[in-house]
């Protein structure tokens, strides 16, 4: 009875190094595949971007669809962006008042609020809100069109889908993000001031004058207009994910999720580069 058991154990021992080496080879293979998939994804994104750029600059221009997308991406995101901006204004106001009072720098409250909202929080919050709403919307819409052959039907009708579907959405994102950021900033400043004014008297005129004292265009314009790059990232990734979907409902779901996740991730990573760029170019 014990013989087979011991021989079995001996067999396991003899196979252990093989298993370890198979595991290592498997790990190496899957790592290589993951790296190659990563570069392939970027390569395909680059090709897609080039096709969209080429389609966008050559006539005929899809003005009607662009206007529809400006409304869809801009006007319809406004309430959400305004609400997010308002909330951020109140949060910064509450936090700043507490911290500044603690360090005896209460007089810096207006400038702290203005700079925090316009330079940091307004752009990134707008970007993330639009990435969530618009990125998911574009990704799901184009993916659904792809799996139901609607994009093929557009192409079969001799209409360039890169021009009609992708270029219009990406351009609309680029144009609308800075405007939505201005709206979010305005709402943030207004609610931030209001939250402060509820606690102690501070006129709006006084708040604005003190907050913007000594401010230059360089301090506010680059952080606001950097969101055009966010728009490019959100639109490009959502269109790419949507138009390259495979499969049915599962593919549509994946495209929508990836549009939001990758869009938001690349947006935050791009912010690191953009902030450094702005600090260097607009000191």
């Amino acid at each position: 009875m014990s013989e087979p058991a011991s021989s079995g154990l001996a067999l396991d021992h003899s196979r252990a190094p093989d298993d370890r080496s198979n595991f290592a080879v498997g790990m190496a293979n899957s790592s290589t595949r993951a790296i190659s998939d990563f570069f392939e994804w970027f390569g395909n994104l680059g090709i897609f971007f080039w096709q969209v750029c080429r389609a966008a600059v050559t006539p005929p221009y899809e003005w009607r669809e662009l206007i529809r997308q400006l409304d869809e991406i801009g006007s319809k995101s406004l309430p959400l962006v305004a609400l997010a901006g308002s909330a951020i204004g109140v949060v910064i106001s509450l936090e700043a008042r507490y911290s500044l009072t603690r360090f005896g720098a209460k007089s810096l409250f207006p400038a702290t609020l203005v700079y925090s909202v316009i330079q940091v929080m307004g752009p990134i919050i707008t970007g993330l809100v639009v990435s969530g709403r618009v990125g998911a919307g574009i990704g799901a819409e184009l993916a659904s069109m792809k799996v139901s052959e609607q994009i093929d039907a557009i192409e079969a009708s001799a209409v360039n889908p890169y021009r009609l579907l992708a270029a219009t959405r990406i351009v609309a994102c680029i144009l609308m993000l800075p405007l939505l950021t201005i709206a979010a900033d305005a709402c943030g400043l207004l609610t931030g001031w209001f939250a402060q004014a509820m606690v102690e008297p501070l006129s709006f005129h006084q708040f604005i004058e003190s907050g913007f004292k000594g401010a230059t265009f360089n301090a506010f314009l680059p952080p606001t207009f950097k969101t055009a790059v966010y728009g490019l990232i959100i639109g490009l990734i959502a269109c790419f994910q949507g138009m390259n979907t495979r499969g049915g409902a599962e593919g549509v779901g994946k495209a929508a999720t990836n549009s939001v996740v990758l869009g938001s991730l690349f947006l935050i990573l791009a912010d690191v580069v953009l902030v450094k760029f702005i600090l260097v170019v607009f000191p």
């Binding site: 139901s148 052959e149 079969a156 360039n160």
Partner: protein, 260 residues
Amino acid sequence: MTIAYDTAAQTQDTEDSSLLPVISIENVNKSFSNRKVLDGINLCLKRAETLAVLGRSGTGKSVLLRLIIGLTQPDSGSIRIFGQDLAGLSLDQLGVLRMKMGFLFQHAALYDSLTVAENVAFPLQHHRGDLSTSERSDRVQHLLGEVGMSGDLGKMPSDISGGMQKRVGLARALALEPEILLLDEPTAGLDPISSREIDELILKLQREHQMASIVVTHDLNSAKSISNRLALLDKGKVVIEGKFEDLERSDIEFVRNFLK
């Protein structure tokens, strides 16, 4: 047995342009993930002729149509439309050729955010800028009237049945007055009455517009009634090509099984 269709001879025949093939497919191969879908396909289509492409599901019939309209590229071989090889064409040149072709997708592929009328108007809006709004509207009315859908202009695709969607898809395919009509499973998923109605509609359109058509189907009755010639595909190859009677006379087992 393959009833040969001498494409080379027809290409050389310049005396009568009506005999020139509008579509000429020579030795086309296409694989997806190492699976050969089309294996050395040779077919051609003359003006005002209807070719039915038959075969079991997954034999590459729909892929063949996608290759013809340039939505997919072949691995090798050549596809000529009106004598122009698709491989050498720019996107703009391909666009010009596509305007001469109407495509009815298997599931109609109507734009779900547009109404029935807007779907039919879509190709006109993009390619017939010379038409005024009222002329375009008249043309849409006329096209939808031809397919018996003139009362449903304002409906959304999701509000109409599969058969009605196919009709609208057909009207959209006809919008630019194409010289070639490509129909992918026009009667698939329809009840026998709707199928017959679609077949009659295709016959009527062929009579009136004198278009060359390729109809992909596995509905033998439909293929028999609407086509002049049939090609039967199996495992990516053309097993037999000819008139329905030629198929009936064939002693190839696959053909006999298919006709049973």
